[in-house]
């Protein structure tokens, strides 16, 4: 947490400096090496005083757009979100409290999703709730089988 320091100066230059310092040529590569790690922890690792998680998020999106892998990016964000919100995996019973928990993760994911993919993300979320995955399910990366069926790559 930085009270604004993450927004001082040219943060994009700073972000990529840190990525290169750690031996990666892209933010995506840096993140891939840390699957299912929540975004805020990625930001913390890159600069606990001057990098905000949302900067990492937007950097990842920009790279995904260049690589035409936005759907994969959207899945990756959901994975990181779920590991933060449901560390013990998908709840056994979707009772009142657990439903809120899942809904919370979904809502956040939806808001992080770029406009182009919102509708698909929304449907994928509904499908997850309608046909819940097995208890304890916790995707480890964007290539999780179930996630791929819910939100397959469509990029051209």
């Amino acid at each position: 947490m930085t009270d604004g320091r993450s927004w001082e100066g040219n943060w994009r230059v700073r972000l990529y400096e840190r990525v290169r310092e750690r031996g990666y040529d892209s933010l995506t590569a840096f993140a891939e090496a840390r699957p299912a790690v929540p975004l805020y922890l990625l930001a913390e690792e890159l600069g606990k005083d001057d990098i905000a998680a949302v900067q990492v998020l937007s950097g990842l999106l920009a790279e995904a757009e260049q690589r035409k892998q936005v759907t994969r990016f959207v899945r990756d964000v959901l994975v990181r979100m779920l590991s933060q919100s449901l560390p013990d995996g998908w709840p056994t019973v979707l009772d009142h409290a657990n439903r809120f928990k899942v809904a919370k993760a979904m809502g956040r994911w939806f808001a992080y999703t770029p406009e182009t993919h919102k509708e698909r993300a929304d449907r994928a979320g509904d499908a997850l709730l309608a046909t819940p995955p097995p208890p304890g399910w916790l995707p480890r990366g964007p290539d999780d089988e179930l996630l791929l069926t819910l939100l397959p790559d469509e990029e051209v």
């Binding site: 947490m1 930085t2 009270d3 604004g4 993450s6 927004w7 001082e8 994009r12 975004l39 805020y40 930001a43 913390e44 606990k48 005083d49 905000a52 998680a53 949302v54 998020l57 937007s58 950097g59 999106l61 920009a62 757009e65 933060q84 439903r99 809120f100 899942v102 809904a103 919370k104 979904m106 809502g107 956040r108 939806f110 808001a111 770029p114 406009e115 182009t116 929304d122 979320g125 509904d126 709730l129």
Partner: protein, 512 residues
């Protein structure tokens, strides 16, 4: 400061207060004072100190050990934005923040209990005064009743602040995100602080009333003179009381800073009244009445430590420094506050819930250090550090304040103001209205968050804070299939603040 000292302290208290009751219990206080009398003034101090200690004996889960990694960074407020900082501290983990949140929560509850306890004592003293028809109530055709009523009104205010603080603390305990728990406790901090300071002042006021009551019922002073004195004292108290009830953290803190001096002044006033009463009692018979009545007095406030004894003009504790000992803060051989109390306050100060000036003032007033107010007014470094003060806190106190002529940093609603009603329907009303959840942001930060500046990376990035947060909330509500609870909303908000690197340090935008 382990269990050993706590046990020692508890057993000593139990020996002295053999009923296990507190000095404050109605009737008990009288007995205690009577018993104390035979052992002289020194004994009085010791016993009262023990009684005080007993009051402060609250079970408390100690915070993580001395090696805990609590990082700080300056923020736009005089309280620490702990949560965010801790999340980023080296080696920090969710577990550390969780532990800290729990410890802070327990300390907060203890402090609430303690302040409620003293409010209760004030309340029963006031009832007792109002029940006697020879003194305050009966004298001068009831012209003194207004002063008791003033006490009642102030008491109601303290009770309301405590209730509000309790409510917010309860909300904090229901939220899962530990950073948000801490943020909510900080939100309730100024209320707790105001109630704590207010109850100290109120105890002084009740002591004035008690003394006046004694003088009136024994006809030691003229009704007019006493009336005028009370009027003057009320005028002295009122500005501090008003500042405390302003709910503005800066004002509360400033009032706290001035409190030792004020209490010092008031205690000199009280001493002067005693002196006059003494002079009035020329005839032996009257003198005996006076002696008896003084012995019956149960003073609630810490003034009892500063008042010179009636007969032996005992020197007040001038020039005796406060020191941190294994059992708490000591003044010479007298315990001022217990180690448990110190630990509780330390936790609250370091979490940014209470301010250093307030806690220092509380210690100085308890110690009767008020006489030194004009000179070297501050506590020693050791005591301050024990209470959670640190260079970081000090630095922040300086930089956090807006200097003369400097503009207040603008405050921004975390939950969009345009959708106030939506939030109201989901429980954000009163003490938890969205007005309380504002943040101050640096310009660059603000621009970035509201989608301005040079921030957009992805062309279609939904970067605008209000839109983003509402999308998340609307979607979560749709997915949940029912109206979101206040806590769920707070948890979602907490994650977004973390995402955007906004310190979870709430200030009030406007309103009460």
């Amino acid at each position: 400061m382990g269990a050993l000292h706590r046990t020692q302290a508890a057993s000593v208290s139990a020996q002295v207060l053999d009923d296990g009751g507190e000095q404050s219990v109605p009737g008990m206080g009288l007995g205690l004072t009577m018993r104390v009398d035979s052992s002289g003034a020194k004994g009085t101090g010791l016993l009262l100190a023990l009684a005080l200690l007993c009051n402060a004996c609250v079970p408390l889960t100690p915070p993580p050990g001395p090696g805990r990694s609590l990082g700080y960074s300056p923020h736009g407020g005089t309280r620490l934005a702990m949560a965010g900082v801790m999340a980023a501290a080296p080696g920090s983990s969710d577990a550390t923040v969780r532990r800290s949140a729990l410890a802070t929560h327990l300390a907060f509850r203890s402090a609430l209990r303690e302040v409620s306890g003293s409010a209760l004592r004030v309340s029963s003293e006031l009832s007792r005064l109002e029940a006697s028809d020879s003194g305050i109530v009966g004298a001068g055709n009831g012209i003194f009743v207004r002063y008791a009523e003033y006490g009642e009104a102030r008491l109601r205010w303290i009770d309301a602040e405590l209730a509000a603080a309790t409510e917010v603390a309860a909300a904090a305990s229901e939220v899962e995100a530990p950073e948000m728990q801490l943020a909510l406790l900080r939100l309730a901090g100024p209320r707790l602080e105001a109630a704590m300071m207010g109850s100290m002042l109120l105890a002084v006021w009740v002591d004035f009333l008690t003394l006046t009551d004694a003088a009136l019922s024994r006809r030691l002073n003229s009704v007019e003179a006493l009336f005028m004195r009370l009027d003057g004292w009320q005028k002295m108290l009122e500005p501090a009381m008003t500042a405390l009830s302003s709910q503005a953290p800066e004002q509360v803190e400033a009032a706290a800073q001035d409190m030792p001096a004020l209490v010092g002044h008031l205690s000199r006033e009280l001493a002067a009244l005693l002196e006059d009463m003494n002079k009035g009692a020329k005839v032996l018979e009257t003198a005996l009445v006076l002696k008896e009545s003084m012995e019956a007095l149960t003073l609630l406030s810490a003034l009892k430590f500063t008042l010179p004894a009636l007969r032996a003009a005992a020197p007040v504790s001038l020039g005796v420094g406060l020191m941190v000992g294994p059992n708490g803060v000591m003044m010479g051989t007298r315990m001022v506050v217990s180690a448990e109390w110190v630990e509780m306050m330390r936790q609250l100060v370091r979490a940014g819930v209470l301010s250093v000036p307030a806690v220092s003032a509380a210690v100085r007033i308890q110690a009767g250090h008020v006489m030194m107010a004009q000179g070297h007014g501050d506590l020693s470094r050791g005591v301050r550090e024990a209470l959670g003060d640190s260079p970081e806190v000090r630095a922040m106190r300086v930089t956090g304040k807006t200097g003369a002529g400097m503009a207040e940093p603008p405050r921004h609603h975390v939950m969009p103001n345009e959708l106030r009603e939506w939030f109201e329907m989901r429980g954000f009303t009163g003490k938890m209205s969205i007005e309380w959840f504002c943040v101050t942001l640096q310009q660059a930060h603000h621009q970035a968050i509201h989608g301005g500046g040079n921030w957009k990376l992805g062309r279609k990035w939904p970067g605008e804070w209000n839109r983003m947060i509402m999308e998340a909330l609307y979607d979560a509500e749709a997915k949940a299939g029912r109206m979101l609870t206040r806590n769920t909303i707070l948890e979602i908000v907490a994650v977004y603040m973390q995402l955007y690197d906004i310190p979870m340090n709430f200030v009030r935008c406007r309103g009460k």
